[in-house]
């Protein structure tokens, strides 16, 4: 395989990028000064080497514990559980939430080969079992899989003395938290409802 084919094959593995776009990106880079390609390669290596998951919340971080978990002004007794680390960015941009997070690492979907053991649900239960958690807000996406995941997590937390709530339906059904705007997220969080 030629170097050009190799790079465009790597681009084509990325979400939303087809074979044509992958080739276009490859030829674009080849037309730019070589320095640009080297910077991109270096950034990719750095990310691969340095970024890992937070020991507490499974957010992406370059440290053992992420900056949100380390922030003393945040409320550690309030945990917002999200599907992906990217969802944290969306909620942080809304600027309303003062608690900490838990990244579940996806959503239940046997069709995609994802079962409860592929998520960090047991780790969330362990955080709750360690005590001092007052409320868990389930901020999974309002899709079928997101709802099933929220209901499943709620059942796993049923034995503990805390409030389990679900963000309100401000996010359009089938929409992703990641792409919702700040006002919508802030409203969905403040109008959250306790799950029975």
């Amino acid at each position: 395989m030629s170097a050009i084919d190799e790079l465009s094959a790597e681009f084509a593995k990325l979400p939303g990028i087809g074979r044509k776009t992958a080739l276009r990106l490859t030829y674009y880079l080849l037309k730019r000064p070589p320095e640009q390609g080297r910077r991109l390669a270096a950034a990719l290596v750095t990310v691969a080497d340095r970024v890992r998951t937070c020991e507490q919340c499974y957010n992406l971080t370059e440290d053992p514990v992420c900056s949100i978990c380390r922030d003393g002004r945040r409320e550690p007794s309030l945990i917002c559980a999200v599907e992906e680390a990217a969802d944290i960015g969306a909620i942080e941009r809304a600027g309303e939430f003062r608690g900490v997070y838990h990244v579940l690492g996806g959503r239940l979907s046997p069709l995609d080969g994802v079962g409860p053991d592929d998520l960090t649900v047991s780790q969330l239960v362990a955080r709750v079992a360690a005590g001092a958690v007052r409320e868990v807000i389930l901020a999974t996406n309002p899709s079928l899989e997101g709802e099933a995941t929220a209901l499943y997590v709620q059942r796993q937390l049923a034995g503990y003395p805390l409030t389990v709530s679900r963000i309100a339906r401000g996010i359009p059904v089938g929409g992703d938290l990641e792409y919702a705007d700040g006002v919508t997220i802030a409203q969905a969080l403040s109008a959250r409802r306790e799950m029975r």
Binding site: L108, S109, P110, L111, G113, G115, P116, D117, L144, E145, E147, A148, L151, Y152, Q154, R155, P172, R196
Partner: protein, 346 residues
């Protein structure tokens, strides 16, 4: 007209098959203004198109594109009776469940939402059950049970309430058509793999969710062996009896056909209550296999239904199939896809 209501062909044809040979697609447009209950919905125009090239369906309601196809369901209410409907009474439970689902999903937003969640969840749980051999663990199937229990309980509760609400009406219509025995219906709830039960009218959705959750848990090990979920609303039945005997096995062809017509009239009544508009009734060859007395009685029921049903359209293969004495019907003939008034002037 029926195409506009359910957004698909009543005969179950695929959209591409409905396209006339050699044409790129089809487009239909319906306009409905509603009389009856106040406040009636405003007149709505629903347009539906299908392109063969992209295999896409496009719908607009009152000029706007609904966010999802399901939002346009029921915008122009209509009910169709087709000769194959006798199969609803004669055949297996799947056709009767489909009848309940269509009737309730077009009139209850809550039912439609629960049905979509339940079907999606069922597919996921069954997938998990079948992947157990690959070591995914029973937990993967169990994880979907809370969602199935919550959504399934809504289906159970609404089906049971519908049967209670419309049971007497079924008996009344059947008697009016000339059925001598009492026609009754019963919602058989599949809450154990071995037997059916009758839904307690007083049970709340929360209680039903508890029943379904327990049933799913109890059946899980067996479900793994079968590779399918064996309890829940997707295994329910709507049992129709005549004089206490199951119409599936004991009804004559005429009795089964009459019962199917009665079910379609109930569907129209449900739509009338749910949407505030009297639906259009399309009857395709309803009188085949029926004696003239029954045919006449059915027309009397339709005519005397007050504002339960709106316009009734009868389609019969031969003019002679319309009972004598029904001169007040307006007649049209259809030849080569062109509709003409009987005098040939329109």
């Amino acid at each position: 007209m029926a195409y506009l209501h359910l957004l698909r062909s009543v005969r179950g044809a695929r959209d591409a098959d409905v396209v006339r040979f050699g044409e790129a697609g089809w487009h239909i447009r319906g306009e409905a203004s509603f009389g009856g209950i106040v406040p009636a919905p405003a007149a709505r125009v629903v347009a539906l198109g299908f392109e063969r090239g992209s295999r896409r369906k496009r719908v607009t309601v009152a000029g706007a594109i609904p966010r999802r196809l399901s939002d346009a369901l029921g915008a122009v209410p209509s009910v169709t009776f087709a000769p194959v409907d006798a199969e609803m009474v004669r055949g297996g439970p799947a056709a009767r469940r489909r009848y309940l689902d269509v009737t309730l999903a077009t009139t209850s937003r809550r039912y439609l939402t629960a049905l979509q969640a339940y079907r999606g969840g069922l597919l996921q749980r069954n997938t998990a059950l079948r992947s157990l051999a690959r070591g995914a663990g029973e937990a993967a199937a169990a994880a979907w049970e809370p969602l199935l229990a919550e959504s399934g309980a809504v289906l159970w509760a609404e089906r049971a309430a519908w049967v209670v609400r419309w049971g007497p009406e079924l008996a009344r219509i059947s008697a009016a058509i000339g059925e001598r025995g009492v026609v009754e219906m019963r919602h058989a709830m599949r809450y154990s793999a071995a037997s059916d039960g009758v839904c307690d009218e007083a049970a709340s959705p929360a209680e039903l969710a508890g029943v379904l959750a327990a049933a799913l848990e109890a059946g899980r090990a067996g479900d793994v062996r079968h590779g399918a979920t064996r309890v829940g609303p997707h295994r329910d039945d709507l049992i129709l009896t005549l004089g206490g005997r199951d119409m599936r096995t004991y009804g004559s062809a005429g009795q089964q056909r009459t019962a199917a017509i009665a079910l379609r009239i109930l569907e129209a009544g449900t739509l009338r209550l749910g949407t505030g508009a009297a639906p259009v009734l399309l009857f395709d060859d309803p009188f085949a296999e029926l004696d003239e007395g029954r045919a006449r009685a059915i027309l009397d029921v339709l005519g005397g239904g007050g504002d339960t049903v709106g316009q009734v359209i009868l389609a019969v293969p031969r003019a002679a199939d319309i009972p004598l004495g029904l001169t007040r019907l307006e007649r049209c003939a259809i030849a080569d896809g062109v509709v003409r008034g009987e005098d040939g002037d329109s």
